[in-house]
Each structure stands twice: as structure tokens, then as C-alpha cells.
Amino acid sequence: MPINFNLKDTFDEMLASAKQSAGEGGKEAKGVAKQFLQNRKERLQLLAELRLAGDLPDEKFMSRLEDEKLILEAELKAMAVISKSTAQNTAQSVINIFQSAVIKALPEVLRTTT
């Protein structure tokens, strides 16, 4: 009785799926990072403008620069969610492919029990 399990094909399929998932996540992360940089640029421009116009005394200006660190932390946390989410999706798709290949390789009687 032959076992219909092709390890090479299964691994190739897993690799292709991992590449696709990671690629999609990477594109999203790139777009978000670009927007974060644009937002930062606009905030810093505004900060400089207010400082030069005398709207922000030195103490407040320094305090706002400290806030920029917090905002950067928040943006990095948001990027971390996208990375984790992509990793989760990639890992799950790879496991699903392997699992379904194994199920297909099992004889009919065992397949229905799983």
C-alpha cells in the first residue's frame, strides 16, 4: 500500500505560503512606517514653527520633545503588532499546509477520525 505523502512538494508549498504571507505583512508595515515618518515630520515642523514664533517657551519646547519619545514608542508598538500578526499568519498557514498534507496521506478510515 503506497503512502501518498510527498515531503518535498509539501515543503515547497509551505515555503511559498510563508513567502506570500511575509510579503503581504511587509508591504503593510512599509506603508505604515512611511505614514508614521510623515506624521513625525509634520509634528516637528509645527514644533519648530511654534518655537520660532515664540508660542512655545524653551521649557515647554523641551517638554514636547520629550513627548516625541513617547509618541515614537507608541508607533514602534503599533509596528510590533503588525510584525507579530504577520508572523502568526505565516506560522499558521505553514502548519495548516503540513497538516492537510498529512491528512491526505492517511488512509480514508483514519482520515475521518481526525
Binding site: 509634528r43 513627548d67 507608541a74 508598538k77 503588532v81 503588525i82
Partner: protein, 156 residues
């Protein structure tokens, strides 16, 4: 690659191994971040709108009428919403990042509220800066929430 032909005992052993693998991994679900929460996403949007409305309204009021007391109720209302976002994020498992973003937003809100209270007015420039800061913070918050949709996308 050709299918493999094996004697019956070896075949049984392999079938048993495959079945064991399936039993172990059948319920295997990789979870690194919490699931996307549409309700929370709507709440983020609503709070963002309130903050936007708050600063736009303030901008329309003459600078000499921007005493803290005229805005304290709105400050409290928005602070309640931000607190709610922190708590709702905190109770979800695998959600440290979104929780931290909400905490930072609340921290900045409290700080700018205190500034307004101390100075008892807010210049047009500071209104613009605060509005921009919170708009960007809510964007980060929403990115983190929407990012969880990636992990919910269908797998093969």
C-alpha cells in the same frame, strides 16, 4: 517524487506517526497577538472624533475665553473614554502593545490638561500641536488594532 511503497509493519508505523502528529497538532493554533476587536476599533474612532471636535471647538473660541473652567467637563469626558480604552485593552490577552499605546495617549492627555489648567489658556499654536499629537496617537492605536486583522486573514 514517486509514492513510497513499504512493507505492512513499516506502513502501520508511519500511519501511526502521522496520526499522532495530527492528534498533537489538530488543535494547534499559533497566537501571538489578540484577535481584532471591531467594537474597540469603533471606540477608538469615536474617541478620536471627540478629541478632534474638542480642539476644533476651542479653536473657534476667542483666546481670552479659553479659560480651563470652560473646558473642564469636556476634558473629564474624554479622559473617561481614554481610561476605558486602557482598561479594555489591558484585559485582553497578548495585547501589551495596544495597552501601552492607550496608556501613552492617556498620559499625554492628562499632561496637556494640566498645562491648560496651569496657564488657564491655550494658544492657537498649542491647540494645533495638541490636535496633531492626538490625531497621530489615535492613528497608531488604530494601526495596532487593524494590524490584528492580518492574523485573522484566511489561511490555505
Amino acid at each position: 517524487m514517486k509514492p513510497i511503497s513499504l512493507p505492512l509493519p513499516s506502513l502501520r508505523l508511519i500511519q501511526f506517526s502521522l496520526l499522532s502528529f495530527l492528534l498533537v497538532f489538530a488543535s494547534c493554533k499559533v497566537q501571538l497577538v489578540s484577535n481584532y476587536d471591531m467594537e474597540l476599533s469603533n471606540e477608538i474612532n469615536n474617541t478620536a472624533k471627540k478629541v478632534d471636535n474638542f480642539y476644533l471647538t476651542m479653536q473657534e473660541i476667542a483666546a481670552d475665553k479659553r479659560q480651563f473652567v470652560n473646558f473642564s467637563t469636556s476634558y473629564i469626558g474624554i479622559e473617561v473614554d481614554l481610561n476605558s480604552l486602557v482598561i479594555k485593552n489591558r484585559v485582553r490577552p497578548l495585547n501589551a502593545e495596544s495597552t501601552r499605546i492607550a496608556e501613552i495617549t492617556l498620559q499625554l492627555w492628562e499632561k496637556y490638561k494640566e498645562e491648560h489648567k496651569k496657564d488657564n489658556t491655550l494658544s492657537n499654536g498649542l491647540i494645533r500641536l495638541n490636535k496633531k499629537t492626538f490625531s497621530d496617537m489615535f492613528y497608531a492605536m488604530q494601526v495596532a488594532e487593524e494590524g490584528k486583522k492580518v492574523s485573522n486573514s484566511p489561511n490555505p
